[in-house]
Amino acid sequence: MRQYLILVLLLGLLIGVTGWMTSLGKVGIFSVASPMDIVHATIQHLKIVIVAELLAIVVGITIGFLATRKAFRFISPILVGLANIGQTVPTLAFIGIAAALLGMGYTAAVVALFVYATLPIIRNTYAGILSVDPAVKEAARGMGMSNLQVTAQVELPLARPVIVAGIRTSTVINVGTAAIAGMIGAGGLGAIIMTGLAVRVMPIVIQGAAPTAALAIILDALLGGVEDWMTPRGLKVMKQVNYGK
């Protein structure tokens, strides 16, 4: 309950500050961004994040899942190692490389975000599936489940909370990274921040920064809800029982 209160207060503060800055109209010779500018930038920002994230979910889960299969066991340490090392590379470097290879603009931003967002999903999918108790899998096979049934009815449902947690992490990171993508001309809220910085008008910087923060908070809360909803009830009960001890 208290958690929600803080969340609402914080969001109110961020939106209020944005509104206040927008209401300034002009700072010196510079006009601040109009409300419509901010709405368009937010939609553009969300578009980059969502497109990159959807691609990352499909590719990340696929790679993470395949890495756990016997046939791919031999390359799984490499895949998971790469995913881990990749996450230590700063986001700015990713965006720079993407811009260098693909040119400035929207496409480069989406590609950079997609690659970076895939890493936590690969890692969590791999760890989630490997963490399924071997005894549970053996029992499933011993009772006559086909490989497909073991995956669909046992491995994936049990790994689901961990996989969704990976998606949540990568989405929140992506909102921030997308702001940096403003530097390579991808638009979005990052473009407003860059403009503000270029002309050294702090209200304009805040007009881009505050909605970015609000977006990250909202998406995190939403995906937290999804995570809870996707966690099988039997696993939640287990958590309570363990905490009870």
């Binding site: 108790d133 005894a135 549970v136 899998k137 053996e138 029992a139 499933a140 096979r141 011993g142 009772m143 006559g144 489940m145 086909s146 049934q149 046992v154 449902p157 049990l158 099988p232 009830r233 039997g234 696993l235 009960v237 287990m238 029982v241 363990n242």
Partner: protein, 377 residues
């Protein structure tokens, strides 16, 4: 029912887990694979439902070559329970039990009815347990659900890999007793793996003792204990094998009639006179309904007090189905070294003394004479 013919398994790394195993398990028989770790017993079990495909040889179930069947369909027709239970944590107890029925496409109603039936059978009240999750259950309860689950679609054959191995000794013994009761009703063909000789003796109709991938002796528990085939079997069953053999005999098989029963209200002096004439050290006191009240010794009668006041109540009593090993240990704590045997209504039906147990050994000793003689040559 189950026939293994020259079955062998060599793993990819070159380990020969099972070598030329040939044996047959009858319908309705409780067969226990016994042996030290690494003897190939679990591998042998898993070859029956093809979780591990044999490298050589053939396995037939009801005359059908298991190799010719779809492995998933084969497994759905065989109950399977393992030491770590492996209940699905995201499914309720009821759904867990109905796993195979679900795979076989039973309608929902029928699955739930079956789960209720099986929970009843394993002693868990269905109303309390059917909608719970495995993590809310104790280890013993989880294992009961594991047993219920392997009976899910009423398969004729059960494969059980140390199903009671990870449970505390008291619960284990209780589960074993209950499982024997269930088996006496259901008459499944069971293949059961354990490394615990006592468990094997308690449960098995026949024990397959294995060593380094080979079948060493395949016999009923009494034969295994009384005539171990070689030094390995003798060592494995242990130096106390005669004592272990006592488990196989029940009190009702060797108990005798009480030498003298006295009803409450009889005249103490008359009782004393009878005990003296028959040279008895003690007599057993029962009430009007034949319920056992306790022991009376000749010394206690000397004072001439009423019988009610001098009776020594029993510290322990046995029932007719108590195995002799437990009875023997009860006798050691009983003051007189004799044990009253009571039926479920507490009526006295017999008495067990050390002499009765010595007689059992005597018989087995006679059977052994030949073998001992052989060794001397």
């Amino acid at each position: 029912m189950i026939k293994l013919e020259h079955v062998g398994k060599t793993f990819a790394d070159g380990t020969e887990a099972v070598k030329d195993l040939t044996m047959e398990i009858e319908k309705g028989e409780f067969c226990v694979f016994l042996g030290p770790s690494g003897c190939g017993k679990t591998t042998s079990l898993k070859m029956i439902n093809r979780l591990i495909p044999p490298t050589t040889g053939k396995i037939y179930i009801n005359g059908v070559d298991t190799e010719k069947l779809n492995p998933n369909e084969l497994r759905r027709g065989i109950g399977y329970a393992i030491q770590n239970i492996g209940l699905f944590p995201h499914r309720t107890v009821g759904e867990n039990i109905a796993t195979v029925p679900m795979l076989l496409g039973w309608p929902k109603e029928k699955r739930r009815r079956r789960a209720e039936e099986l929970l009843d059978l394993v002693g868990l009240p269905p109303d309390t347990f059917i909608d719970r999750y495995p993590s809310e259950l104790s280890g013993g309860q989880q294992q009961r659900v594991g047993v219920a689950r392997c009976l899910g679609a009423d398969p004729p054959v059960l494969l059980m890999d140390e199903p009671f191995g990870a449970i505390d000794p008291i619960t284990r013994s209780k589960l074993q007793d209950e499982f024997l009761k269930i088996q006496s009703k259901l008459k499944k063909t069971i293949v059961f793996v354990t490394h615990d000789i006592n468990e094997a003796i308690k449960l098995a109709d026949r024990i397959a003792l294995m060593r380094e991938g080979r079948l060493v002796q395949y016999a009923d528990p009494a034969t295994l204990l009384n005539s171990p085939k070689d030094e390995f079997v003798r060592d494995f069953v242990g130096a106390d094998r005669m004592l272990k053999g006592l488990r196989l005999i029940k009190v009702k098989d060797v108990m005798q009639k009480p030498p003298l029963t006295v009803k409450v209200g009889e005249d103490p002096m008359a009782v004393k006179a009878r005990m003296e004439s028959e040279n008895l050290r003690w007599a057993m006191l029962i009430d009007e309904d034949g319920r056992f009240l306790g022991w009376i010794t000749r010394d206690d009668l000397k004072a001439g007090k009423p019988i009610r006041e001098i009776v020594t109540p029993p510290t322990v009593t046995a029932d007719p189905d108590t195995p002799l090993n437990e009875a023997l240990s009860m006798m050691l704590v009983s003051a007189l070294g004799t044990l009253a045997v009571l039926d479920e209504r507490q009526s006295l039906i017999g008495v067990l003394s050390f002499k009765n147990i010595r007689d059992v050994f005597g018989e087995q000793w006679d059977e052994q004479q030949v073998e001992v003689g052989k060794e001397v040559q």
